[in-house]
């Protein structure tokens, strides 16, 4: 297998507050290969957005990377200074934020914001600065006349598209997306996801995509990582996780969706609510809500165990590792 494009090693992020350090991301390991679509799912407060921000080096106090490395094309981003980062950021990797309404400057036209971005990150020629914004806008299916439009003149779907166009200004190798579709209606969401997938196939960039919606992940990602309480609960091929989820939390998430097709089945959901990361439960962090909880779950913190090609953090599979190492 070729060298991964991005390798995150033992990354931990804490929010440093007066009373306690809240560890929002706890020793996360993951890798993204060139051209891959990695989906990250989890509920609010599980640390998924914090993880993305940490990878993109966009954290601001009180959040801080307390340990770990983010190796992107052989370079540890954590160690780079701001000015060094400026050459990598946006040119080699870019970020699409959750709320385009808040991410775009309401006082400036779309075109002016695109040009600012180009000037800030590259010694772009005046020619490129003139022509590239129109090009990327066309790529996402927006008429270039909208370069002169202000954000409020675009619909929610178009604003998200404009954000994606902005992320593609320099044809990056990795595009990080934080819930880009969660504010959109189903039809618009569907159309945007299809477009992202098409652009990805056309340009071959890798996508890291964060969402709370399992179904979006199911249809578009190659691999999926399920996050719970700041940790990786399960990571593996999308098809295998959706066919046979291993972690009780993944199973619960899949069972929480009513279906529009097929028979009507009662939904169970997952009892309780996500834990407070300032005081995570002992042992397995999911044990208070788990339907398959065992006595040892309360005391023993599970590792990630390898089951076929899937890594899962659950003591049900602890035997697998012993079997593998024996």
């Amino acid at each position: 297998m070729p060298e991964p494009l991005l390798e995150v090693e033992d990354l931990s992020v804490s929010y440093l507050t007066d009373s306690a350090d809240i560890r929002a991301v706890d020793k996360v390991n993951l890798s993204v290969h060139a051209g891959e679509f990695l989906g990250i799912v989890g509920e609010s407060g599980c640390g998924k957005s914090t993880l993305l921000f940490a990878i993109a080096q966009l954290l601001s106090p009180p959040a801080e990377i307390t340990s770990g490395r983010v190796v992107f094309r052989g370079q540890d981003l954590v160690q780079l200074s701001d000015s060094e980062l400026r050459h990598v950021r946006w040119r080699d990797y870019s970020v699409v934020m959750q709320s385009a309404m808040n991410a775009l400057n309401p006082m400036k036209s779309i075109g002016a914001q695109f040009k600012d971005t180009m000037r800030a990150h590259e010694q772009a020629s005046a020619d490129a600065i003139r022509s590239r914004p129109a090009e990327v806008l066309r790529l996402v299916g927006i008429d270039e006349a909208h370069l002169d439009s202000s954000p409020h003149q675009l619909s929610g779907g178009m604003r998200q598209r404009a954000m994606i166009a902005m992320a593609l200004l320099f044809t990056p190798q990795l595009v990080i997306m934080d819930e880009p579709t969660s504010a959109l209606d189903v039809v618009a969401q569907r159309s945007l996801m299809t477009q992202i997938k098409e652009l990805q196939q056309q340009f071959g960039f890798a996508v890291m995509f964060v969402t709370h919606d399992m179904s979006v992940i199911a249809h578009y990602s190659d691999r999926v990582m399920v996050m719970y309480a700041g940790q990786v609960a399960e990571i593996g091929e999308t098809s295998s996780i959706f066919e046979r989820p291993l972690h009780p939390y993944s199973k619960g998430l899949l069972d929480a969706f009513p279906s529009v097709r097929g028979p009507r089945r009662p939904l169970t959901g997952i009892p309780g609510s996500p834990p407070d990361l300032g005081r995570p439960p002992s042992g397995c962090r999911f044990h208070p809500r788990c339907s398959e909880v065992m006595a040892q779950c309360v005391t023993t913190e599970p590792d990630l165990y390898l089951v076929e090609a899937t890594q899962v953090r659950c003591l049900l599979y602890a035997a697998h590792r012993e079997a593998a190492s024996a």
Binding site: V187, A188, A256, F257, G269, P274, R289
Partner: protein, 356 residues
């Protein structure tokens, strides 16, 4: 399949119905002629012990309907009849309080719907004091504990003493339902009650809504953009598009034999983690602008089946099958023998691409 009559019975048994309900908002200054048509000519029927889902995308007017029904603002035109009594004619404070107690609303955002400086008991107790003045202090407390128990907030005594910030989103939404229940409602207007909640706790709220109908006998108008959750709880579904009801009928009928091209589009876009993605239409999902619209079907610009007539005549709801109506010039009704085999091109194509 459906547990109750799906249209107003001959005996006029509808709990609530609207006739030509319309609400426009003026855009710009007082003299502006630009009118936003949020809801146009809506005839809606909700029967006793019925869960009706009002489904549509943002901007379709579904929240405006809830607010009209909750008397948050008056309609531009049209009437609301509750137990055949015109809501418009309710003038005295006593009558308005009575109606609001019978038809309470649960809001979308449980984080902003509660006063953060009061314990959650405050809202419930205040509701009781206002709407059920016959209860004394101890009885109010008892009643508050009873409704907290019903919505699954136990132990009720402890829960009542909590502040909103001490509760999770799901718990707060349950408080919202408890407040509504405390006034012995006949119809709960639930405006997107699960859309702000995490997926793992949505199922609990949906199940609770189903049991409120079963155990408390309340009807629910469930407003949502999520057609899958509508299917899960509702007997009947009404699809709104750009201020118009475009299709209505028993949930399973509408979802298995959608007649309106918009309903078909909506269904094809619903993702399902257990299913392979169905092929995508080229539709970009752009919502329509309903500012001073003229005649004609509001879906026509996005509609693959649009004909000339669609631009000139606004389609009205017409029967497609038993209790199943759609507002479309092109859609063809099911044959009367009722074997479910539609010969209509749209419906057949829709069935093939959306089911299975």
């Amino acid at each position: 399949m459906s547990r109750s009559a799906t249209t107003v019975g001959e005996d006029g048994a509808a709990l609530l119905r609207t006739v030509g309900l319309t609400r426009h908002f003026r855009l710009g200054g007082l003299l502006s002629r630009r009118m936003l048509h949020a809801v146009d000519d809506l005839d809606l029927v909700i029967n006793e012990r019925e869960i009706v889902a009002l489904v549509g995308e943002s901007g379709s007017g579904k929240t405006t309907v809830a607010r009209l029904l909750a008397m948050i603002y008056p309609p531009t035109r049209g009437e609301i009849y509750y137990h055949e009594r015109s809501v418009h004619s309710l003038r005295s404070r006593k009558d308005v309080l009575w109606y609001r107690g019978e038809v309470p609303m649960v809001f979308q955002d449980p984080y902003s719907a509660m006063n953060p400086v009061f314990r959650v008991a405050h809202g419930v107790m205040r509701n009781l004091k206002l709407h059920r003045p016959e209860l004394d202090r101890a009885q109010r407390r008892e009643e508050a504990e009873r409704v907290f128990d019903i919505v699954g907030l136990n132990p009720a005594g402890d829960m009542l003493r909590k502040f909103p910030y001490e509760m999770s989103g799901g718990q707060r939404q349950r408080v919202g339902f408890a407040q509504a229940l405390a006034v012995r409602p006949k119809l709960i207007l639930a405006d997107e009650p699960v859309s702000m909640l995490d997926v793992s706790i949505r199922a609990g709220i949906l199940n609770m809504m189903a049991s409120l109908r079963a155990d408390e006998g309340a009807s629910i108008l469930y407003i949502t953009h999520d057609i899958a959750s509508a299917r899960y709880v509702a007997d009947r579904i009404i699809v709104m598009y750009a201020g118009h009801a475009v299709e209505q009928g028993p949930t399973e009928v509408v979802l298995s034999r959608p007649k309106h091209p918009y309903t078909q589009l909506l269904l094809s876009a619903v993702p399902d983690p257990r299913e392979k993605a169905v092929p995508v239409s080229a539709d970009s999902g752009e919502p329509p602008r309903v500012i001073s619209p003229g005649e004609g079907c509001r879906f026509r610009q996005r509609c693959p089946y649009a004909i000339d007539k669609c631009a000139t005549i606004t389609p009205a709801l017409r029967p497609m099958g038993p209790a199943h109506d759609a507002a479309c010039h092109v859609a063809v009704a099911d044959p009367v023998d009722g074997d479910g085999q539609s010969v209509d091109g749209i419906a057949v194509a829709a069935r093939d691409s959306h089911v299975e």
